[in-house]
């Protein structure tokens, strides 16, 4: 069969193809740049770059002339980001643990319980909140939330301290992964709520009507139709939030003490995250260190890709066969 395209069709096809190719090419170029610039680091440290927990940069000669001693000293540099990777995941998971239930509850309230007047206001506010720069969340976190977060952390430590992750060596709860995770949750909630609400609003009306027609209540309809129907969409929204939480830089930079140590105490005032580490170190980095930071960026890039792939496979698997 010969498909005859009209002239306008051909032009349109070329334009959209060019658009698709451009975005793919950009992604490819970014990946190529990251791999190229981080090559030195990976060839020197190999897998230890990911698992190790030491970051030491032997500085350059402040006067600019590289002496023999300094060249030797530079070789003493050790770069590895294990604790930062773990830190990224821990803070992001704390954020998601808090944000997902809040978002699901909030979305269900807005879509099914909020009076009409409040509905409009809430939807608008949510979109506004999603556009607030993370720096603002960081400042709010330091200025306003930290004392509250510390109170929650104290309570957790007091009541559940027997669980290893809630125990601490020193009772200094500020600037801990827990408090930073709470701020990150606040940052993520607008996005995930917005997606969840959108998904829930698309539940076919006659499925909900059927629940009522069977003598069910609103809560019954939500539990047996709305939530299962929206499951994959909500997971996708949560992953969008997780992506943002993993890559979050400024808020974490402001909220967390970067410490290059593995720790399993989320209430302890030490932690880290790859993105904020890069931001923190980039300004004063030596050439070798820059290569290592770009390598860290590549690791973050790959982690985000993996998270997205897991997400889309979950979405595919939980979509009901129809």
């Amino acid at each position: 069969m010969v498909v005859v395209y009209s002239r306008a069709d051909k032009i349109f096809r070329r334009i959209v193809t060019a658009g698709a190719l451009t975005s793919l090419m950009l992604l490819g170029l970014i990946a190529a740049f990251l791999i190229f610039r981080s090559w030195d680091t990976f060839s020197q440290f190999g897998f230890k770059f990911i698992t190790g927990s030491e970051w030491f940069s032997a500085g350059e000669d402040p006067l600019g002339g590289a002496t023999t001693a300094l060249v030797e000293a530079q070789d003493a540099s050790v770069f590895s980001i294990g604790p930062m990777i773990v830190g990224s995941l821990v803070v992001a998971l704390i954020a998601m643990f808090l944000a997902v239930p809040l978002s699901v509850g909030g979305a269900l309230y807005i879509e099914f319980y909020a009076p009409k007047g409040i509905y409009r206001v809430l939807v608008t506010l949510l979109d506004l909140a999603a556009a607030i720069p993370s720096l603002i969340f960081g400042l709010w976190g330091i200025q306003i939330f930290t004392p509250i977060g510390v109170r929650w952390a104290t309570l957790l430590n007091d009541r559940l301290g027997f669980i290893p992750i809630f125990s601490v060596e020193f009772e200094n709860f500020a600037r801990s992964p827990f408090v930073a995770g709470c701020v990150l949750a606040a940052l993520v909630v607008p996005i995930t709520t917005s997606v969840a609400r959108e998904v829930y609003s698309r539940t076919p009306r006659d499925l909900i009507d059927t629940c009522f027609a069977l003598g069910g209540t609103k809560w019954g309809a939500i539990r047996s139709v709305v939530i299962p129907y929206g499951k994959s969409g909500v997971i996708a929204g949560a992953m969008l939030g997780l992506g943002r939480a993993l890559g979050e830089t400024v808020a974490i930079y402001l909220m967390l003490n970067l410490v290059f140590d593995y720790s399993n105490e989320i209430l302890d005032s030490a932690g880290g995250n790859v993105a904020s580490m890069i931001a923190l170190k980039f300004g004063e980095a030596t050439d070798k260190e820059i290569s290592a930071l770009i390598a860290a960026g590549l690791v973050l890039f790959v982690i985000t890709l993996i998270v997205n792939m897991i997400a889309s496979s979950i979405v595919q698997r939980s979509t009901p066969r129809a």
């Binding site: 059927t210 629940c211 027609a213 069910g216 019954g220 009901p320």
Partner: protein, 275 residues
Amino acid sequence: MTQQNADTTTTVPQRADAAPDFRGLETRGAHAWFGTHHALADVSLRFPERTVTGLIGPSGCGKSTFIRLLNRMHEFIPSAAMAGEILLNGSDIYDPLEDPASIRLKVGMVFQKPNPFPAMTIRENVLAGIKLAHLKRDNHDDIVEQCLSRAGLWKEVKDRLGAYGGSLSGGQQQRLCIARSLAVEPQVLLMDEPCSALDPGSTLRIEETIRELAEKITVVIVTHNMQQASRVSDFCAFFLTDGGPGYLVEADATRKIFTNPGDSRTADYVQGKFG
């Protein structure tokens, strides 16, 4: 298709004239509004027990609005209002003390498009109403078999009750939806164009099912298909609108409506002259 009830009770007037011991579903002067739009005016009808009544009429004449009044689904639409009385076995279903959920258990509904719950298996779909309404039942297996049999689906699905409802064909899905409605043991089953999305073969299967259901329960069916109305129903009610609210033109035994209606507009409609 048999019309045993039509033969024995041709003189049953469906217009409600106060008979306090009437069992079945009855509307008296029912009106419906959406905001300021008056959608349905002054419908008085009786649906005797164990009969099938077809609601016919052109699009927009208020049939669907009317059927949704009968199980209080009407009130889910914001700004919807109603007036008049709707009595089930003599008691008003719009009584402020009535729980709408318990009314809907007695007056079930099957929708236009087959809509099994997508995240549930065939078995779970049948039992969904029992779970939703928190009914206490021990013999779940019996209920599943009984309801699927009554809906004419048991033989086809008995070996794959764990499959998802969405894996069935359109006609099977609709019969699954009927089985799902039957599980909560309604006295009346409302069907809003249940075959409009189905092929002719599936349509005939559903019509057989409807006739069988009428041995035990009352069925009210909205249909645009005149042959279907004549095949499946004992009584027919013809609705019409003249641009204003929809109203009831006449209601009578199906045979009379199709052969010798009292109103010339009914005759024109059932002969396909408009609609």
